[in-house]
């Protein structure tokens, strides 16, 4: 209880001061422990921002406005670094918190990577084993390249807290120029776009279905249905269009309209041929 109550004597703070020697670390600025999750850091940031913002009365009669502005600048800077996984890693190394990036043999990396995936998907309440539902799981491109080359990014991505509501961030690989070029090849032929195209896009980005399910909250059954063109398993068109939109946005596409229209055409064609009398 003492440690919890004591503001001055947090071990993490003391460690930080000893190691840097000059000024408070970003962790001290945000008043968080060095092992805090991204969500905890964000909560601390929001709390502090409201404390030091100009409309706040909490500083009245104690702290001058200039000081509050300075403090706010420091908080913004600290949050900018700590919120970014790669920048945070660099910063941890710079202040001596982490000695060097953890280098592990290739095989171990693969297993730890898949373990991470399992943990994440369990947290999302969906799949237990992502490989189980992976239709292209034996695809060598997916297994070797996606996991070995991109393990650090995809792992750091996995550690992100689940955001509810709208998709704010696309998959981590989506900004890679090579990936973009490969995706462009599929996007440029919207006439032939269907579930297969969707699967290809996902594999270019290099993420499993379980991640789509976790991040977009689309049911795994619907994701599989959309990718396999199992139209009878899908809900009505208006939902499918919505699912497609967040799916494609998560893959990093901005212009989703043409692809959705193309998919809608396929969906309508199926409906007219199988159940011509239904609307």
């Amino acid at each position: 209880m003492n440690e919890q109550l004591g503001s001055d004597f947090k071990p993490s703070k003391l460690q930080g001061t000893h190691r840097t020697g000059s000024g408070p670390t970003y962790y001290e600025v945000l008043d968080v422990a060095t092992y805090s999750t991204r969500l905890q850091i964000r909560e601390a940031y929001i709390r502090l921002r409201s404390t030091y913002s100009t409309g706040s009365h909490a500083l009245y009669s104690l702290v001058s406005e200039e000081e509050a502005r300075d403090a706010l600048d420091k908080i913004e800077e600290a949050y900018r670094v700590l919120d970014d996984e790669s920048q945070r890693k660099e910063y941890d190394i710079a202040i001596g918190l982490v000695k060097e990036p953890p280098a592990r043999p290739q095989g171990a990396e693969f297993f730890s990577g898949s373990g991470e995936g399992m943990r994440t998907s369990r947290r999302g309440g969906g799949l237990v084993n992502p490989g189980l539902h992976e239709p292209y799981g034996e695809d060598p491109m997916h297994q070797t390249e996606a996991w070995s080359e991109e393990h650090s990014e995809s792992r750091s991505h996995m550690r992100r807290p689940v955001t509810f509501g709208k998709i704010k961030k696309a998959a981590s690989r989506a900004s890679d120029p090579e990936v973009l070029a490969a995706m462009q090849a599929i996007i440029s032929k919207p006439q032939s776009f269907d579930g297969k195209g969707l699967t290809q896009l996902r594999e270019i980005v290099g993420i499993p279905q379980s991640e789509i399910q976790e991040r977009t909250k689309i049911s795994i059954e619907y994701i599989k249905g959309m990718e396999n063109n199992d139209f009878q398993k899908l809900p009505s068109l208006v939902y499918v269009r919505g699912f497609l939109k967040i799916y494609l946005q998560y893959l990093g596409l901005t212009d989703t309209v043409t692809l959705i229209e193309a998919y809608t055409e396929k969906f309508n064609h199926w409906r007219e041929t199988t159940r011509p009398n239904s609307y």
């Binding site: 503001s7 009669s61 702290v63």
Partner: protein, 358 residues
Amino acid sequence: MFEINPRLKQPNPAPEGEASQFVSLHYNNWKAGLSFDAPLPLARHMPAILAVGGGKGGVGKSIVSANLAATLAQYGYRVLVVDMDLGCSNLHSHFGVAMPKRSLADFLLTKTTPFRDVILASPVQGVAFVAGGREEAWADYLDQPSDYLLPLWQALIASRQQFKVDIVLIDLGAGTHRYTMDFFSAAHLGLVTVLPEPTSIENAYVFFKMTLWKLIDNLGYRLQQTEVAQDIKCALAAMAGSTLTSGYASCLKELALTYPAFIQDLQRVIQARCLGIIVNQTRDQADIDLGSSMEHICQKYFGLPTKYIGYLNYDEAVLKSLKNRRLLVSDFPHSMIAKRLSVAAAQSLKILGMQRRN
């Protein structure tokens, strides 16, 4: 209905239940910050002492005291509320009781009544209270050193042994009078009531500062190093500025180089207490967030262990219950403010390391 009755006193008054973890854990350090010179009972015979202060008047200290006591009693504790707003007491009105015949003045000033007879029944089971008493009686005493309050302090610390009181809740008056700070610095959990307005916040910070001052004073008195305490207070007053880096917490760290032993003891004394912030009359989210902001500032600037206990929303029920002359939580038990009070009570119990008994 009411159990704290002298005529039913058991021959063997062993206190039931566990003492507060917080109280027994910090007992020795807490002792060093007291201004009262009286023999203390063992840690396990010590009631948890809560004090409600706030500096400014009209921020809801008495409402919080009366209703928090009733809520703590609902959690299964026996609570004794003491009206320490001497000269301006109105706690009895919050309980819906007319001005009682026996009061603290009879016990302390005229010394005609023993303490057990000034303990009055409240309309809530498990809560007893001591009324402040006649205004005119206090007029001559309030300027003097607070020695005349020593019997009250002795009665309060013995109340667990004598009356099986688990929690003593002291309702302090406005301002930072000497006796107010005496009792606030003696509390294990000092609650500060704040309204979301600049005047109240300013006074709350003054109150925090005076608490720190009082603790330095008391420690100097205990260690018989009053000069050192005086020096530290002067240095603090000179060093503190309007930046967070020049707050009292960082000044104390610098002074630790000059007075290492004293500051170390002071830190222990400070850590043996907890301050709680209650934001009263909140109207929007910004008001609610004020509490966590103040908690952060107090830790950074004053270096005091502070917790945001909870907020009480602005509610017409408060005024209505006062007009009905009934206790708020029994008049409107399903109002939002009653729920917020029970959250605050639960939070206080958590800090004190006490389990809910029912």
